[in-house]
Symmetry: C4
Subunit: 213 residues, 4 copies
Amino acid sequence: MTDPDLTAALTDLARACRILEMEGHGDMTLGHLSLRDPAGRGFWMKRNRIGLGEVLGPDDFVLVDSDGEKIAGSGGRHSEWPIHSEILRVRADVQVVAHTHPFHACVFSASLDPLAPSTLDADYFVAVPRHEDEVALITTKDEGAALARALGLHVAVFMASHGVTFCGTSVMHATCVGVFLEKAARRSSQAWARASAPACRTRRRASGDTARS
Amino acid sequence: MTDPDLTAALTDLARACRILEMEGHGDMTLGHLSLRDPAGRGFWMKRNRIGLGEVLGPDDFVLVDSDGEKIAGSGGRHSEWPIHSEILRVRADVQVVAHTHPFHACVFSASLDPLAPSTLDADYFVAVPRHEDEVALITTKDEGAALARALGLHVAVFMASHGVTFCGTSVMHATCVGVFLEKAARRSSQAWARASAPACRTRRRASGDTARS
Amino acid sequence: MTDPDLTAALTDLARACRILEMEGHGDMTLGHLSLRDPAGRGFWMKRNRIGLGEVLGPDDFVLVDSDGEKIAGSGGRHSEWPIHSEILRVRADVQVVAHTHPFHACVFSASLDPLAPSTLDADYFVAVPRHEDEVALITTKDEGAALARALGLHVAVFMASHGVTFCGTSVMHATCVGVFLEKAARRSSQAWARASAPACRTRRRASGDTARS
Amino acid sequence: MTDPDLTAALTDLARACRILEMEGHGDMTLGHLSLRDPAGRGFWMKRNRIGLGEVLGPDDFVLVDSDGEKIAGSGGRHSEWPIHSEILRVRADVQVVAHTHPFHACVFSASLDPLAPSTLDADYFVAVPRHEDEVALITTKDEGAALARALGLHVAVFMASHGVTFCGTSVMHATCVGVFLEKAARRSSQAWARASAPACRTRRRASGDTARS
């Protein structure tokens, strides 16, 4: 890996893994992030058998092609590679795909309750789609394609009684999506844990200035 | 900034920012506190692009006039300056204004449930007003004035599905208001998370001696 | 204070204050423990204006007589001394009295729900009495006597929308009562936060061997 | 203890105790794990009067025979030895037995609600049996045998308003059972703390590949 831009991008992606671990996305060695290969060979995916918090740098990713073949890097390939290949196939805007098991979002994945928009960042997640599947793991292209269809043009999808998949136009974007999604789920859990339902409401979408409010 | 009193006050205000971060008010780089300028030029407001926990001293504040112009200090101005200008305009008793996104109070902001007075400090928050607005951010004087009207003579106001604004007659007072408000919201969340509603009650207001009980 | 036994007992009592802080009983500078004076002069009570976690040793206690007069020690006397004087007056078995504001027990104090016995140590708290009072603070002998009547022969009493008072035959006993009471309240909060009520039940009281099970 | 294999196994078992403490199974000095003695003399059981997090190595276990007699090791024997003897008697597949009081599983033990399968690892615990007993502690062979019958062929059993007992075919297996059981209980507590019940569902059992997904 001698391309300095790629090395920098994977260094960022490794940091994103560690940030997501700190923000509640870690679950043993489960969960994985990927970056679309800039040379068009497929995607760089976190290697298996280490936790998100143990991803230290570019060497912790392997290059996987669109058929799931590992074509570069050392370490094993997670079996759920089709989550990444199939979303990257149909979403040209997406550079980064992530699949994790964050505590509160997992609880939401098992429920039909909507997220309650209790803060500005929750505005981003008004209607997160929910994918239900008979299989526990997404290990075939067909299963990955079905998940990609459920995701549609959204940035995140709940996987029923399993976890979440989310994505972004950059490492930074996907990381923020993951962080805010889990925060929204945690706040919503508190909101729904009431004798009365929360006074959900919609508002004019926050402007791009939100992040600097 | 050569006025030693002002330097001391902003040093206190910086510490208040860090205390509030520790007490659950931090939310990335969002949230801001301000101090009425003793020379009548406007207010000293936390600069943007840093978190509450990263406010280290007087240099992390900028002087903003009543029209939102930055007239001293380095660093950017948060877009929500009218929260501060409009409250300080109508509340001569207030020296410090704060706007934050504490976890539990945000959940309450999205609900119509009242706070449950489960402790003595909760007595301070028997009827916190709730401001509902179509905009996500308060960026105009009119929006700030509407929030100030909702606040009225109270020390805190919930901003529906957004956060809280609170104030005090001193740095210490405003800090305690923020800390106790979030504690009251957290306790109330537990109280409302029941099959049965809490046995809310009012009592004779705690005397001034409460703080030393 | 040259009595080595008293010094040792107050050193233990100071440690109990710090343990209770770690176990969730701390609330700013509020809360206080006392030890019956072995010489019959009254009771040694934590001094005010410091938190439970800041009680370092014997010098952090003051000797208070049965009329609330401080007769030894430096530092201020909490205004709620009658909690201690009136319980010690009628409960000859009690050596240590504590009044604190633990998070979960405070939430329970505002509710009429019983504690749910979800563990063995909760067996100790099957029917904790609840004291309701119009005053926020217990600052007179009459108010203290009313609280002592509510406590009766129990080891703990909820003070409605305020906190708890508990006691024991030794420093170690009272500390365990406080720790287990808050644990029972925390577990019960989870148990009551359900669509369905917990399957509460009673069983033969755990034997004295419980602590070594 | 000069058998290097046994020393290695008990070193692993000690680490399992510390892992379980970190994962929420600790409760003062309560709780114990055991390993079937490879020489057929009984089982090696954590000694009493220390917490799970204080188990440092092989010397913290005592060898207990099937009648509860300590036949090797220093330190005291927990009174609940029949939990171990009676499960090991009827479950030839089991090498490790554990009894603990994890917070969330204890709350579930007091309830008749099923665990909600909100994640893949929860699939492992679709129908955890529940043992109800009049006694607080399991101190006789009859009581232990009743618990073993309730456990049946499962890997875990809730002990009503008391705690859990779980087991495994190896130290690693039993540890994972304990960790995942408490995680499932914690997630289920959140799921049940809703105005609406969770959309529980079953799916095809996750394949053996799950752990490497």
